[in-house]
Amino acid sequence: MKWYQSLARWTLLAAVGLMGVGYLANGLSGDGRSTQPPPIPKGTSETADWMEVVADVDAEFETTWTRESLATAPDADWQTVSRRVSLALIGSSISLEDMRWLESLPEGTQVDALTERLLADHRFADYWAERLGRAYVGADEGPFIVYRRRRFITWLSQQLHDRVPYSQIVRQLITAKGIWTENPQVNFLTVTLDTTEKGRVDPVRLAARTSRAFLGMRIDCLQCHDDFLGNVTLGTNSDPLEGTQRDFHHLAAFYSTAANSIQGIRDDGKTYEYQFLYEDETEEVEPIVPFLPELLTTDPAAEKLPSRQQLARWVTHRENIPAARAAVNRVWALMFGKPLSDPVDDIPLHGPFPAGLDRLAHDFAEHDWDLRRLIRIISHLQTFRLDSRCDFEVTSEHEQAWAVYPLIRLRPEQVASSIIQSCRLATLDRQSALLVQLQAFGEKNDFINRYGDTGEDEFGQDAITITQRLLAMNGKMVNERTGENPFMNASSQIAMFATDDAHAVEITYLSILNRRPTDEEAAAWIRQSEQGVSRRQFVEDLYWILINSSEFSWNH
């Protein structure tokens, strides 16, 4: 047992002991947060201006489904949609406490209320900072001393929590200067510092990052040669051009001035030189954007700016819709678990675009790149609220067209967080005792380490591995969180305070799967509870079973 787990455990035992039996019983009935006035959801009614965008995007999908003669799934119940919202915004399922709070709200308001609460919660900022951070700086620890990933993620989290517009965040990254500890955004650059290259940032890696993370384009192959497979199309709609090696290096040239010094990253005006394929000598390469050059050339103020500032202005220009599409596609992917245009960072510059993408991108750019607005819109779309099961035969075509909600495997951190949360009755957030948070942090890291972090590959759909199944079935965390522990574990508390077996089954389902059992399931478990097994053992087993289910480890 790690020191923090041990410390947290003993402190918790003392603290929870003082809470008393009444609180535990109260937790089961859900009178905790339900006594608080529910927050007033912002803009959830038809009066919200973004509901027009929702209607437009819904209409685009309707047209697609009609054209492809695809039936659509019925609407999902609010519990299911709420679980999706929770997984998307904080990377965890919903606590029993919050399920009870949601149940206390008027019918039809639950999803919006949860969305608003979570958007204001620091857990949202923390979770999205980690997810977006992987696109910006990767998942590795990077160069020693000159790179501080944790500081970078913390900075990004604060930006998100402070509602800094996405465009401003991107500008700060591209133009960052100074020391990596004082100005954490500079880590976007220092992660590429190559210790064998005399302390300069790597323009090539930064060009690849910029094109993928901010522009939604994979132009990496152009680093070495012109595109000869038709994978990269630049130019304009009316005059499309194949990508060339020069396009990539012209983009890289924007970063050539950034150098590391005793004051951290600064601009020293160094020009970019490169020897192109089939050329005999290196040549100076000037910074030129890969498309929409008019956004720079028509901006007289931009011309005199340092190259990184020019690039930042161009990337976040209101008319740079490809950049807005890239952001929308990533937000969509974080909401659903898979991007609208797949892969997430390779959207064809001139289309064709999937239904909804362009409408959402224009709205995003027109509204100051407001992430929360975009999230609200997506959470209101019909596609987000459809069921994942139907009374007709579901095919992969239905999923591809978003005519049913797609089944998506949870990422490792979502699995870990959901296990930890579902094994507690109270919500685990920044209001929780520090030691509880510390313990959860440690447990989560240990679990993910063994489960296998997906690294930068946020949206891969690998098959589940034997290691992962073994960890869920026989792992220490699942055993400790579901085993007998009346102070810490929901399973023990449910076993103690549920009024009867049916009540225990219902609460267990709500805690883990965020739904009530079907009549068939409830009957099956009641039959099993009558086999002479103790209530405690019965609930523990049910906890194990539900945590090990497909339904738990898949978004649906």
Binding site: L470, M473, S550
Partner: protein
């Protein structure tokens, strides 16, 4: 996966537990005997054991001493069983096995940061934000089918850097285990067998069957693989091959020969795992990053490495497995010729050593050399290295020795063709 329940090869989890050591040893002995029989056949599939010396060992204090030179430091060089090959005095037992080794002393890399360099040495590719490359073990498991019904790619003492499947998929990720003195993690249920079975039945019969309703046809086979993975996990839990991890079943003398260290036990387990059909075993030994007090730091680590590595080669040879098993020993880069003011050596990717043995490689030879008097102020540090090879070349050599077509192109999930290795095999050590 390949052994059906009820077959003569199968022991149930219950019987294995009940029978404790004696029976499991018998089961393993059967496997070992079978493995031994098979090993005499030319068709025995090839395997690899990689000893990752994390933190980057100093070439001077291990495989490339320059005793008595300006940069050689305090270490003496000793003769080995390979003609005209000397290594560090810190590796006396290894010196007795050098007639089995093909030593490459001229490996170069462009990565001087531990994490990036380790990725480089583990995959043969420099880190690239656009793709995660598979580790050597993942490639071997992908290309060489068949093997054990426990995971075929195992990382012992992984220290957070176990081999990954990368674009081949997570199913090729290494199964991580720690000190073999402890039980294999997550293999045994926390509840008795009857109760565990009841849990599994409840999971499959009630919850999973409900989840399938109204969803994709063949949901499990075509999408979730949940039931399939669960069955594979249960098979592994029941497998008698798990006994290969139980190094305490080997004689006390043999265990002592490997060294009573986690790494020594890892090497012993590696040999046993190869015998039962595992394709790749990584064993990690950290602690080589000696920026201060290099001499003592390297000596301490060599005291762990030396008996384990030497005995591993000897045991594989004794069990007739060395012809079909490639043993790779090395770190992510080397250490500087200059000894810094605190007696340490810093990072040096411009000429370091990797030792290879087995799988038909030429034995007792050396490829490449580092200069005894390197010119450190030169722009091109490669001029200090004779017959330099790259990390990619090492990978191409390894794959060729394992009969894997190293130049074969695979299509990554994003449709990008990538060779298994872009290196050139070192023909001088391939027989």
């Amino acid at each position: 996966m390949n052994i059906d329940c009820g077959s003569h090869d199968h022991l149930s989890r219950r019987s294995l537990l009940q029978s404790a050591g004696a029976l499991s040893m018998t089961a393993l002995a059967t496997h070992l005997a079978r493995g031994s029989e098979q090993s005499s056949k030319p068709s025995r599939p090839k395997s690899i054991i990689v000893l990752w010396l994390r933190g980057a060992p100093s070439q001077y204090e291990t495989f490339d001493p320059h005793a008595g030179t300006k940069y050689g430091g305090e270490v003496a060089a000793i003769d080995t069983t390979a003609r005209d090959v000397q290594i560090s005095e810190f590796l006396p037992q290894t010196a007795e096995q050098m007639h089995r080794v093909a030593l490459v002393r001229s490996v170069t890399s462009k990565e001087g940061d531990h994490q990036r360099a380790f990725y480089n040495i583990q995959t043969g590719w420099r880190p690239d934000p656009t793709v995660v490359h598979p580790s050597i073990g993942s490639i071997v498991c992908h290309e060489l089918t068949g093997g054990a019904d426990i995971p075929r790619h195992i990382s012992i003492l992984p220290d957070n850097v176990a081999g990954r499947g990368g674009y081949l998929g997570a199913k090729y990720d290494a199964f991580k285990v720690y000190d073999p003195a402890n039980k294999v993690p997550d293999i045994r249920p926390y509840v008795d067998e009857k109760r565990f079975q009841r849990r599994v039945d409840g999971l499959m019969d009630v919850v999973e069957s409900n989840f399938r309703k109204g969803r994709l046809r063949d949901l499990d086979r075509d999408r979730t693989l949940h039931g399939i993975a669960t069955k594979s996990a249960l098979t592994m839990m029941d497998s008698d091959q798990l006994a290969a991890f139980e190094v305490d079943k080997e004689s006390k003398a043999l265990r002592a020969q490997f060294g009573e260290t986690a790494f020594g036990r890892g090497c012993l387990a590696a040999a046993r795992l190869i015998e039962v059909g595992v394709r790749c075993v990584e064993v990690g030994l950290s602690g080589w990053d000696t920026h201060a007090d290099n001499h003592n730091g390297q000596r301490t680590q060599c005291e762990i490495l030396d008996p384990a590595y030497a005995t591993l080669l000897q045991v594989l040879a004794d069990r007739d497995l060395l012809d079909s098993t490639l043993v790779v020993c090395g770190g992510e880069f080397g250490r500087t010729p200059r000894i810094n003011p605190v007696g340490g050596r810093d990072h040096w990717p411009h000429g370091f050593s990797i030792a290879l043995a087995g799988c038909g490689l030429r034995q007792g030879i050396v490829h490449g050399a580092t200069s005894p008097d390197p010119k450190l102020d030169k722009e091109d540090l490669l001029t200090n290295v004779a017959d330099p090879v790259t990390v990619q070349d090492i990978h191409a050599t390894i794959l060729k020795a394992l009969d894997v077509r190293f130049e074969r192109e695979l299509i990554t999930p994003i449709g990008r063709p990538l060779k298994l290795s872009e290196g050139t095999p070192i023909e001088s050590i391939l027989s």
